[in-house]
Symmetry: C2
Subunit: 213 residues, 2 copies
């Protein structure tokens, strides 16, 4: 799927592996429209109230076309979770550059995630609902992110910036911080703090912990 672009967002490989891969540019655009409409529909109504006919209506796509790409509402939901995971990944990655220090990388990745969540508040509801609708996708979403964070922590240690011994436990802790501050300040928040301010506070916690020095 290398450089396939439709409405500006690459369709996640995993989403496509779940959908039937479109062979034409027009097909890829239709798939993208269905995924975007699904994000709105599942985000607003939740999985059980959402309907395929309402999603195709939002997408401006014929109902018959839906079944060209997906077998069922379940299949679409699974593809959407994979697509959301991929969007989180690319939004974080696009904020990083090679000359950043290890801590700066964590701050930039969190800022990018929070900005993404501010634009796509439905992501929390959709990922959280996956725990019930499609537990395997839910697990995969978090495992994949934790592995990415663990890789970054290892790189930071290899460069001598971070302490030795950081690994999966610390990656899950960092992910948990990021998810919960996003819930509090972005999804529930009344814009008391910007993504940059939230990320700066979390970054200081990572840098120095809570002890007085």
């Amino acid at each position: 799927m290398g450089n396939t672009r439709a409405t500006g967002t690459k369709v996640a490989d995993a989403a496509v592996s779940d959908a039937k891969t479109p062979r034409t540019e027009r097909g890829r655009r239709t798939l993208r429209k269905l995924l975007d409409a699904a994000a709105e529909e599942f985000g607003e109504k939740g999985f059980h109230e959402a309907s395929v006919s309402s999603i195709t209506r939002r997408a401006g796509v014929a109902l018959g076309s839906f079944y060209t790409y997906f077998d069922s509402k379940d299949g679409l939901f699974r593809a959407l979770v994979a697509d959301m995971s991929e969007k989180v990944r690319t939004s974080a990655r696009s904020a990083l550059s090679d000359d950043m220090g290890a801590l700066e990388i964590e701050r930039a990745a969190l800022t990018a995630f929070l900005r993404f969540a501010a634009e796509h508040k439905e992501i929390y509801r959709i990922i959280d609902e996956a725990e019930f609708v499609d537990p395997e996708s839910y697990r995969m979403h978090y495992q994949t992110i934790a592995e990415r964070i663990a890789d970054r922590l290892h790189s930071g240690a290899a460069k001598g910036e971070l302490r030795e011994g950081l690994g999966e436990l610390e990656a899950w802790a960092v992910m948990g911080m990021n998810v919960f501050v996003g819930l509090r300040y972005i999804v529930w928040g009344a814009a008391e703090m910007t993504p940059e301010q939230v990320a700066a506070g979390v970054n200081r916690l990572l840098a120095e912990g809570v002890l007085r020095r």
Copy 2:
């Protein structure tokens, strides 16, 4: 409800304020049985598949008795979330003592939470499902815990052990770490790490952050 005890666990005030308060010891025992059976049933089946008749069967309580205490399955679920919040609170509090330092308090509170979660793995599913079934309970659960953590961080700063300026943001970050390591190592884990080991790792992160020194 001060020292009301039934099967060894105090019935949460909030749960009782949602249920109709039983006036007799026998009534309190019945309410406790219903809440414990509800935790099993909602934990195994989820809210939608769970049924009042199956819960009363598990509890060994007549169906008619259910309606002495609750108006509906929704009311029972709401009471159960409040009861779970209260149990998390009391399990953490019982692990703390006045002579502990601020960091030690965080470690002990997390260890107690993880032990509780190991014994009641259904808590994750129930709290997470509250986001969909009863959003107000979901929000309240986390807000209350975050306030408690913020209070502890303030106390630690007042005693000169923790740095100044720790507050709500750091409390949400700490809560996020705790919830996610519990998900990874207790709910999904294959006992690779004990609650004590997980809490020690998180505590080191709080103590010193990730930087090499």
